[in-house]
Amino acid sequence: MTRSSFMTRKELIGFLILAAVIFLLLPAMLDSFRLNLFGKYLTYAFVAVGLALCWGAGGILSLGQGVFFGLGGYCMAMFLKLEASTPENTAIQSTPGIPDFMDWNQLTELPVWWQPFYSLPLALLAVLAVPVVFAFIIGFAMFTRRVGGVYFAIITQAFAAILTILIIGQQGYTGGVNGITDLRTLLGWDIRTDEAKTTLYFVNGVLLFAVLLIAQYVRKSKLGRLLIAMRDQEDRVRFSGYNVANFKIFIFCLGAAFAGIGGAMFTLQVGFMSPTLVGIVPSIEMVIFCAVGGRLSILGAVYGALLVNWAKTSFSEAFPELWLLGLGGLFIAVVMFFPNGLAGVWSEQIEPRLTKLSKRSDTATPKRAAERAPAE
């Protein structure tokens, strides 16, 4: 059956549990403010899923995913900013009708490359296309010259640094270090109300599942198996007649597209976009989301993004000094002791015990479902 080759029964259960957590459990348990926070965490999950494919399956560690997240987010923010900067709203400026930060920086006219962002379809296209084109250029240049491993990581990290400096330096065009703020409506629909935020949370969840299904498809396809083969024995795949570079470019671009969607959803739900989400530090934190969840598991990546961000928010509220120690310790612990992250802990430790348990007594089945959600 085609269905079973796409998803085993176990994986299907995993997907369903995640769907229950995202669409039922979290909305039922949290108030609108907290739900919006979790929506923000879920936007990072897009990046983490992309990393699970690039890094976990393909062995390509990018320390510049924040670049793609930021590019997607900025494309969305530019559209929303233009919609918010109507001549009526900005009547007090010396040049009405352009975004406020341009006016503060003595710009009198909208730059040409901002013009396409008056149109929503073009902006949505840009959310996907800009990160992908950028990733293609980097990937093409690097992978066809067989640059990989740590060199690739360092170069992508340099791109994260370059884009941040550029955004902060070109204040008049990008909003500088504050980013693009004060976003109000999407085609007249106010995105700042509680109802809008809840709606956006569900849109975000649906998009995340679309991304997860694409990722699952890629993993189960021939491409997915080739990726793993390339990660483990790149030369053998090359000698078998495959063009290794093309597969790598494709998966890198796919990861960038995922990150771009995540960035756009971030802008919509949080209401601003700034260079603090683009730079070296956020980019490498996105890697830890993926690593905590389990670098091989796309579902684990989602749980990793949720857990680490949730821990970050609650810890830095309670003990701000301890959070960095905790995060640093997490990096070391995951690498040293749990290289397969939570998904590894689940499949190596918890699952075998549960199977043993369920064999012993039939009544264990409902208990198993209850234990699974917190365990992951």
Binding site: L63, A153, F331
Partner: protein, 308 residues
């Protein structure tokens, strides 16, 4: 962009910016030398390199206060003691980190990268808890203040010259260690063929640990030298990490000469452009050119044949 200036002025601008570039060059060389040892010879990515430098800077800061309080007579000389202690402190921490962390991860370079990033976060927080979040500066001895007037238009700060002299002497020191000492011979042997090096009786484990320690120690000396030209904060190390890695990679990872050449070209390009463009655009352009060249020539300026 040149039209507004007369020829002598242009000459002075290039000379001054060139000199500023030379100071930046010294800074880059100091930063990159330790990394060139660790990354170039061992292939280990140490993202906490900046924090090892900051440790050296804080040691210098503590010592300058100690000398000022207890032995003010020797204050003008404290810096040399501080440099030595910075080397010991950072080197010792490096030895410990190699033993506790790095040696388990030699086979997984990408994981080393993440683990050392975690280490850098922990060190930053420790510095913040111990020394406070604010940047600290050391008091510079009198003989290092002021500047030498060269012509009417050109002036050279003395602490800049001092940092340059330091960079040259430390580079020479590293060169001698690498190519004239027994340790250097062993490191190069292991780099070429680890199994054979072990077979002829080199203690590869201990050499690795020592190499990592020495690299970190050199970083500590670099941090100590930085206190002469700037202040030190808990997160200052992170600012340098991308520059430092690019310098090393651009030079060709295993080549010390390449590291120095790339530090020179990057720093000169950046500081001369800085005069005509804004600082951030100069930085963006420099980094873009470096990354662009690396995309065309991934092995860097001075490539060495390496066994994978």
């Amino acid at each position: 962009m040149f039209a507004d200036y007369s020829w002598p002025e242009l000459g002075a601008i290039f000379a001054m910016q060139g000199f500023a570039g030379l100071i930046l060059f010294s800074v880059f060389v100091l930063m990159a030398l330790g990394l060139a040892i660790i990354f170039g010879q061992m292939g280990v990515i140490n993202m906490a390199h900046g924090e090892f430098m900051i440790l050296g800077a804080y040691v210098t800061y503590l010592l300058s206060n100690l000398f000022a309080d207890y032995v003010p007579a020797l204050f003008s000389m404290y810096f040399f003691v501080a440099m030595f202690l910075a080397f010991i402190a950072s080197g010792a921490l490096g030895l410990f980190v190699e033993w506790a962390l790095i040696r388990h991860l030699y086979k997984r370079p990408l994981d080393t990268l993440l683990a050392t990033w975690g280490l850098s976060l922990i060190l930053q927080q420790v510095y913040r808890s111990v020394f406070g979040a604010r940047e600290v500066g050391v008091s510079i001895p009198d003989w290092m203040m002021g500047s030498l007037p060269l012509t009417d238009l050109i002036e050279i700060p003395i602490n800049g010259i001092f940092v340059m002299v330091l960079a040259v002497s430390i580079s020479l020191g590293v060169y001698i260690m690498m190519f004239r000492s027994n340790w250097g011979k062993q490191v190069r042997a292991i780099n070429q063929n680890r199994v054979m090096a072990g077979a002829v009786g080199i203690n590869t484990e201990w050499t690795d640990r020592l190499t990592f320690g020495i690299g970190c120690g050199v970083a500590g000396v670099a941090g100590s030298a930085f206190t002469m030209i700037g202040s030190t904060g808990p997160t200052a190390g992170q600012l340098y990490i991308v520059d430092t890695f690019l310098v090393v990679v651009f030079g060709g990872a295993a080549s010390l000469l390449g590291t120095i050449a790339s530090a020179f070209s990057i720093s000169q390009a950046q500081s001369i452009m800085e005069f005509f463009l804004s600082g951030s655009m100069a930085k963006v352009l420099t980094l873009l050119v470096v990354v662009g060249i690396l995309m065309i020539r991934p092995q860097g300026l001075f490539a060495m044949k390496l066994r994978k």
